[in-house]
């Protein structure tokens, strides 16, 4: 099983590397994450910021298909005791949030996320689900959104975001990503 992430994509598929490390931490399977120093994995497909192969023979391109592939392969791990329908709205919101540069649009989405967490620790139920990872990835990918969360006007969301950052699989995901970025920079500066 493998995951491939385009390092220079917009948006970067942070949530997919979180899914992958979450699987690895569970011990259910091992997914190797590869990083490519490109804008898109397939120039003909503008959704191809990420690709996953969980069956050993078929690559799925794009965030939407990657989420579906993880959910299909590891339903219990990514849903816990919850219904697939309960994570779907958050997956959709995350997909809209990650690429948005519209301040009003971003603010509305952040308010919606923040309100949901007034009385809740996690987005769905009482254990981590794919909803949390999708939203976490969207915030990592969107500087405007992450910046607004840091300024403290969405303190429920900020609290949840800090919790997510302390969880091992996601810390590992970020670490691997940063290493890949640094390695690609180094390669460039030492080039001919």
């Amino acid at each position: 099983m493998s995951l491939t992430v385009a390092l220079k994509a917009k948006p970067i598929a942070y949530s997919a590397i979180a899914f992958s490390e979450f699987v690895n931490a569970s011990g259910l399977a091992h997914i190797a994450t590869k990083f490519e120093d490109v804008n898109l994995l397939d120039n003909a497909d503008k959704e191809s910021n990420v690709a996953v192969d969980l069956d050993g023979n078929k690559k799925e391109y794009g965030s939407e298909k990657v989420v579906a592939a993880f959910l299909e392969k590891f339903p219990d791990l990514f849903l816990g005791k919850n219904e697939a329908s309960s994570v779907q709205p958050w997956i959709e919101l995350a997909a809209a949030l990650a690429p948005s540069h519209n301040f009003m649009e971003v603010s509305n989405m952040l308010a919606q996320l923040d309100d949901h967490l007034i009385m809740r620790t996690l987005f769905v139920g009482y254990s981590l689900t794919i909803a949390d990872m999708a939203v976490w990835g969207a915030l990592k990918a969107n500087n405007m959104a992450a910046g607004a969360v840091r300024t403290g006007q969405y303190h429920n969301l900020a609290r949840w975001y800090r919790f997510m950052d302390t969880q091992k699989p996601f810390a590992t995901a970020l670490e691997n990503f940063t290493k890949a970025v640094n390695a690609s920079k180094k390669q460039k500066s030492s080039g001919p």
Binding site: Y126, R159, Q167
Partner: protein
């Protein structure tokens, strides 16, 4: 004293329940001690609500400590009595309590202690934003 015995047992069997640095350890000790004190529960509710505004658990962001467990047991009777409106007002405590009471390890122990699941209304009114 029960707190000292608890800390000794935890440090031998589950040191991760005591916090991962000095600050967290101090927080764990402070809140666990409070949970075993005769301090007014209403006052504890309010100070805990403020303390939990920016953290997921009482002493740290990452996970449950002894302080969460002790406070959960201590506050169970008062949280059981909160109206929906009071729950919204103490939203940080309510959110934290609901999460703790649904953790599998806690649920097993709670059963043994006769602590029932408290039904909390999670649909607080939205925040008014400028």
């Amino acid at each position: 004293a029960p707190v000292n015995a608890l800390f000794k047992a935890a440090s031998e069997k589950k040191p991760e329940l005591l916090g991962s640095n000095d600050f967290e350890k101090a927080q764990v000790f402070e809140w666990t001690t409070k949970a075993f004190s005769s301090a007014n529960s209403q006052e504890i509710l309010e100070s805990l609500n403020e303390s939990l505004m920016n953290t997921t658990f009482i002493a740290q962001d990452a996970g449950i400590t002894l302080a969460d467990l002790a406070m959960y047991v201590h506050l169970h009777p008062v949280v059981s009595e909160l109206s929906a409106k009071e729950g919204y007002k103490l939203n940080n405590v309510a959110r934290w309590f609901d999460f703790i009471q649904h953790q599998e390890a806690v649920m097993e122990t709670a059963k043994g202690l006769g602590l029932e699941l408290v039904a909390l209304d999670l649909n607080a009114p939205k925040i008014q934003r400028p």
